[in-house]
Symmetry: D2
Subunit: 350 residues, 4 copies
């Protein structure tokens, strides 16, 4: 097997990245080495690329970023029993410690000692990536590789939608980045009976329509609350999925929620938000659920079941497919706001 490989590398603590020849990762007795077939770019990768405040505080260059991917196993450590060479896999890139309180009570997705591959250690924007066996996810062969590269963010959407009742509910999705768009499909597939998508960006709003949201609202131009009250017999939305991470989106989300409804919050605001808690949460008897990552591994099974059953059409969200060497162009493209999911092919587009 080859000793070196091509990878996207953040070489130093500053903006930008390079395409470089680096060593193929070594692997230990409980590790799996995967040849990456498709990887997918996340907003987090842009933070790392742009070296914003969050990135500067967390990332230790040199680093190979990338935490969304699929590929085939090329080698396994001596103690690995659940996958073998050739298996088609993805991975949960949040590597939990397994020993803390949260891990031991079944809440590994919020392990305080988590290490994220592609953030804290080398990730998947490379020809090969090393993954601990515990975190490998075997992909059902009926799932196409492009979809299989999206399991990480799709899992965010599935966990968010299913973090409370959804069947026969009206649901408003605030913010239609890729996870918001996925959430439209997931909510519909899981029995939501009215799906409102709130999104000011025209391109994203167009995608929300393609994902079959019942009503797409530009909250900067339309009265989202009135539209939703009118459509729900004056009650409001049973469920709000906060995917924008923006103050106006968050406030609107609580505003359109029915008394007794649920808000699941995934979008992460970059600064504190001023909220009227009395009106938004307390008098409303609202339930608010903070969403981080995906359940390990319940969400993965749910997601795989939905994909295998053909319940999710994700194709509109995949707007770009580029060779991995064009990573920087992908970053530029992402900033235009006219793309959604950009796929990379570290080992060629075939």
């Amino acid at each position: 097997m080859q000793k070196t490989m091509v990878a996207v590398v953040k070489p130093e603590p500053k903006a930008g990245s390079e395409i470089r020849e680096v060593k193929v990762p070594s692997y230990g007795p409980r590790d799996v080495l995967v040849k990456v077939k498709v990887a997918s770019i996340c907003g987090t990768d842009l933070h790392i690329y742009d070296w914003d405040q969050w990135a500067a505080g967390r990332i230790k260059p040199p680093l190979v970023p990338g935490h969304e991917f699929c590929g085939n196993v090329v080698a396994v450590g001596d103690e690995v029993t659940t996958v073998k060479e050739g298996d088609f896999v993805s991975a949960e890139m949040h590597v939990a410690c397994g020993k803390c309180y949260q891990c031991r009570i079944g809440e590994a997705h919020i392990c305080p000692n988590v290490k994220i591959l592609g953030v804290d250690e080398d990730g998947a924007f490379a020809e090969y990536v090393r993954i601990p066996e515990s975190n490998i996810w075997k992909i059902d062969p009926s799932i196409p590789p492009d979809y299989a590269s999206l399991l990480d963010p799709l899992g965010n959407a599935v966990y968010t939608v299913l973090s409370g009742e959804i069947a026969a509910c009206s649901v408003a999705i605030v913010g239609c980045g890729p996870i918001g768009l996925f959430a439209i499909a997931v909510a519909r597939a899981c029995g939501a009976t009215q799906v409102f998508a709130l999104e000011p960006n025209e391109h994203r709003a167009g995608l929300a329509k393609k994902m079959k949201a019942d009503v797409v609202i530009d909250p900067t131009k339309q009265d989202a609350k009135q539209i939703i009250l009118d459509a729900t017999n004056g009650v409001g939305a049973d469920v709000v999925l906060e995917m924008s991470g923006k103050t106006p989106g968050i406030r609107t989300g609580f505003d359109i929620l029915r008394a007794g409804g649920r808000v699941s919050m995934l979008g992460t605001p970059s600064k504190p938000v001023e909220l009227d808690l009395a009106k938004s949460i307390i008098f409303k008897g609202a339930t608010v659920i903070g969403i981080h990552g995906r359940l390990m591994y319940k969400t993965w099974f749910q997601m795989q079941n939905l994909l295998k059953a053909g319940k999710l059409d994700l194709s509109p969200v995949i707007t770009d497919r580029i060779p991995m060497k064009d990573f920087s162009k992908g970053m530029d493209r992402l900033k235009t706001g006219e793309s959604s999911k950009i796929l990379l092919y570290p080992n060629g587009l075939k």
Copy 2:
């Protein structure tokens, strides 16, 4: 308004029934009088018709049976505020006492003092029926009358399916009478990713296929357990909906359930059942939910939302439409096992 009306009447404590001219019901200040447009026959009506042991112990003739219907309001009592003449309505025919422990903690569907219209008091197999305002359900005009006559049993199915997790689950429905058939549609609409239908009767099995069950199994001829294990990666069904009320069905239901799964039981066995509780429930860590009626009125909202959203195609379940005067023929037809839902039109087929 007319003083008398035509109705199906159980005149005496013995088998059979008559079509008779009876008085149009009087109504009190909190009652609603409804002109019945479509009514639907339930298995319970057959028990009453045949005057079986259960009927003999409960029914006090003379009685107008019928507890599944829709129609239009023709008159309301002085204190009624939520409906008016002309409104298109159905009703929850379980009239709870409103004062017992269960009623006061939000469990009115299992009120020990419940009176069922069509069982304990006059029901809907008549040109007119009297309903207390509290139990009236206003039907969204987008819902066609034939479907609207089915809300009672559809509500059973919705409550059963939604009495636990269903999205992204594999579900086995044991017994494909009308409620089992409805449950196929509801489970699919609410995100079940594999729907197994178990039914030995060929006609019902055919309807289960029309309802789009993924796999229809004749458990008397096929190895249901092996088929389901093979289809679920050796795990078993996440959810079992027991709709047969028969000992073999109940045992098979527990047998095909995965460890940690849920069984919701609606079919009511007529005699005690011998069960290996250690294997079926205890070692399996199973959850078993007894289902009676429908939640008042959460299930009704859920059902209406699903129907309005066009998520349920109930048409294969409606096998017969007959004039009310042919009620006895309907009973005969039901006994053939070659019909499912039979609709009656007390005020004409139009």
Copy 3:
């Protein structure tokens, strides 16, 4: 029976109140007339007395305030069946409409059409009060009248504590007004294994100790987070009950919460609060529950069960007992911050 009675009256839209002779309330066929034995003063009564912004926007004088009380039935309307003259009762003073979405799905405590007796209509600071039968609560005779006058705020505490897991949990109660103090007792009775009380006011902190909080913390002088982390093996509190309604309290509450924990919020901030939602809720995977009122009537049964079993010692919270005519002195006393629950005796102290 007498035609007039003595009552506390808010006569005009301005601060203050009067003790006045007013008509004994008339009652309809479904009403119950109660002779008030003990009433209790709530913070809301102070808002009305002081005529703050909230009061000016909501209250329509003349009004008899008071929504916490117990007494004996002296007369019932013709249709009343569940109570009779002489019965010892209290009441849920939130009169829900019974017809809205929330009421019909079992969430009457957040009915958007609620009328509160003592706020929107005449209340219990009077010799007699009229209550609809639906809202009457028969009190178990083993419960002493002083405690029985506290069921409304005790119900707030019971609902807050039981709005999620509590057994074997560490719980931090932020703010030790009467409801916070009750919550200490309720949490202990329901199996909380560590109870932290956070309260800067010295008098209230002293009461928290009398209620047997394990640790009482002055968050303005002590490092609440460090104390709680040290006491919970570095994990943080499983449950936080927000009873302060103050920005620093709310922020501290989220700060001391463990990842995956629950915050139930009852204290109502008078203005918007700036919160770091990413850190407080999203990354933490927190669950936040807005608490309004008490469940109708599940909370009432729970509360009665706890009181009957002798599991709650509420005596430290009752700091003052005064005749009703001294209501204004009660208001002054409340403002000192050195009282907690002040009881009134509209029909004499005996």
Copy 4:
């Protein structure tokens, strides 16, 4: 360190056991070797001793039985990080596979591939026992060794009690073997407001009184249903904990349950049970929860919290303390029905 040790050994597939000198267990890189301080006898040990049908089908002699114990770590494998020599520990003796569906979704307690130490591999009735690090439980030093030897069955009780609502509930415990007796203490500690204990054996009934059950009923001589209806205002028990595993106990359990109540079943019947499912579960809207083992490791944390808080007095359940060499006498003693928990001291009584 010594090479051999004294242990209870089932040498051959027949009744009885021997006290033998055997090798001290070797241990691998992820194992922990524990010097046993106190062990406790379970009913399962009697099945093995008597070599009943279940034992004959499962046990592969030679075997060291024993799965309830505490002790001190004497050696750890190279990769062990969470415990060290000298630590006071117990262990979850159900060793789950970690790789199946149940394990990966947080339901390891019902792992279909589980191996139980003391049943499938050597256990704790010996001077030393080997445990995988994953299953070691560090015991808070405030917990006395005798109690610490009981965590396995106490965990069964904690899991059973907390498998649904318990605070402010009436609860009936059917069968007062050790786990039933523990459940009395746990239910009381977690806010149950009425605890009924049903037990025909006089000695056990006496222990139930010592555990502070509110009412102890001999269901073979008293009308359990009437007593419980009378004490619950005609409603029945909110919660039933089935700990008897006997047909009459199981039937009585369902009979005394309120409509809408919960039955958690832990006692395992040795043969199928005939049940009136319509009356017991379906019309009642009952929830039935099968209980196997304890949650890994949520139950362990809950149990430790309750013990540390001093909420559980287990002392009445410990009826006998004997040297390990008297194991056979312990078996005889257990059969008298006049003992409850019998503790063994493999390394001396001190």
